[in-house]
Symmetry: C2
Subunit: 321 residues, 2 copies
């Protein structure tokens, strides 16, 4: 209680240890280490993501949503890897002058997502920094041994499919900045919905997967590059939400944001045509719509067509640096 | 190469991907995820630690040593858990205005420690932040299934042993700040030497372990608390380096730093008397000196004795917040 503020041990005991109670290997966050049991049937899939206040989330964002965003961007990658979420470690670097109320809200956000996704915290670190509040999550998923999905397995002739709708994340960022008006899109940007139900069902169906975090063109391009192929995307086929459709109808230049922006956290998949029905069954079981939007073929790079004509496809995606 | 500076993908390809080449599950850092193979004979031990420039390391510290410190504080915990180092994930949050030369030195430091400890990077994240450079390492070790060591297994009558020498870290911090003059102590503070050779050999020998990161009194106290016991430490028995002995002889008040400061990264162990010979054999095999400095008994708290008299034992350890 130095300076009227909780110390590290008290903070962990009050807010984070309760989140560890359902996972024995977390040792109640009282141990320096976490112990993850392993077995011969699974691989662990691991993903680390860092988000910084004022860079990756709005500095005045609700702490519950900051927690959700930090977790969900990792869960989205775990889903793309074909894995089911398991546990996570949290590094919380609080900016000097942090308030307990913020930490309480942050922990509430973690608790809600732990219930939603069936995960538990298993360790981490808490420090105070002069810099902006920075959150690093390392999330662990489980996938049947040797069956993990990655970007490098697409074959010529595979179809390019996406889950859900594309562009809501990038348009939602514009809404969050006041450039557009749509609470629905804004919420979609602020609170990603990772496809954790669909991802594990893609094992044995998809040849390659990625999540749409950098932008559809960039992420489909990553699959193509990693697989040594070209990919063609037909813009008419790209599924848009009703809100996004209204926006691009009014301002067609925003197609660049829809296709080039990021933060959709949908899955892009390379699916062999013979497994199309298996994909549709998996999508029904996960209650997630999927749409075919293109094809992989021999060659290099990303081609975007509009009404059959190839257009220039900027694919830088979200500029991290 | 935006703004004359490497982008995230180029940075990873140039400096970090080469560090992943010996671990297949890292997928060359080209995948969003890492894949850790597991088997039925081991548990994974996981530890996350965050260090912030100007808080946990000197802002002008050599980048090779920053990398070593970030890694080694985690390896020390893995050793205390009885595990052998395996792989790690790195989150690197670079302060705006970062220079490629710094990153190159940092990666060199990682490379040197990868060789030294037989580990490989398997993933992570790289971001740019307005705040100070912040490094989070999540390190993974392997331990025989169900045999991992923690703080909560000490029994009444167990002896308290420590590896190496105590106090060099805290006195080294004073040296780094110019308060003392000793290059040897300063180096010990800046470049921890985790006991990765000894830790795995303690499985089946130690009932409980911790590393000395918060300070001897605090960390021995953590074992006592977690085990529901009291611990008594005899100050005369605490092993000091020749340099530390000279310092406390000249300025006895610095015993408070020796016993209460942190950053020694030695191991403290609860050893049943009947396993004393096994401990000595393990220490010989690891080429690490070990010293008996006290005893666990029924009760609560930490008692420090000097020439048989109990003295007040401040045990806050390093104040994190």
């Amino acid at each position: 209680m130095r300076g009227g503020r909780l110390g590290e041990f008290e903070l962990i005991a009050r807010y984070f240890a309760p989140l560890a109670k359902d996972f024995q290997g977390a040792r109640g966050l009282k141990s320096d280490n976490a112990f993850l049991p392993s077995d011969a049937r699974h691989d662990l899939v691991v993903k680390t993501d860092t988000i910084v206040a004022g860079v990756h989330f709005l500095a005045n964002e609700r702490p519950e949503w900051v927690a959700a965003k930090a977790l969900r961007v990792c869960l989205s990658d775990l889903a793309a890897g074909g894995s089911s979420p398991f546990v996570y470690q949290l590094s919380l670097s609080l900016q000097k002058g942090w308030r307990e109320k913020w930490v309480a809200g942050f922990a509430q956000g973690l608790a809600a997502d732990q219930r939603r996704y069936g995960i538990a915290i298993c360790g981490g670190d808490t420090v105070v920094s002069p810099g902006p509040t920075t959150i690093t999550i390392t999330a662990f998923g489980r996938v049947p041994k040797g069956r993990g999905l990655a970007r490098d397995g697409a074959r010529p002739g595979d179809e390019l499919w996406v889950s859900g709708t594309i562009g809501d994340g990038a348009l939602g960022l514009l809404a969050a900045r006041g450039r557009l008006k749509s609470l629905q899109l804004e919420r979609r940007y602020r609170l990603p919905q990772p496809r954790t139900d669909l991802g594990p069902r893609l094992v044995g169906i998809a040849n390659a997967t990625a999540d749409v975090s950098d932008g559809l063109l960039a992420d489909a391009g990553h699959i193509a590059d990693a697989s040594g192929l070209a990919v063609t995307i037909e813009r008419e086929r790209v599924p848009l939400s009703a809100a996004a459709r209204r926006v691009v109808r009014g301002e067609p230049s925003l197609w660049a944001n829809v296709l080039g922006g990021g933060d959709d956290y949908e899955l892009v998949m390379a699916i062999p045509p013979r497994r199309r029905n298996a994909l549709l069954a998996a999508a029904r079981a996960a209650d997630v719509p999927v749409t075919k939007i293109g094809t992989f073929e021999r060659g290099r790079g990303v081609r975007l067509t509009v009404e059959g004509r190839v257009v220039r496809a900027p694919r830088a995606g979200y500029v991290h640096f």
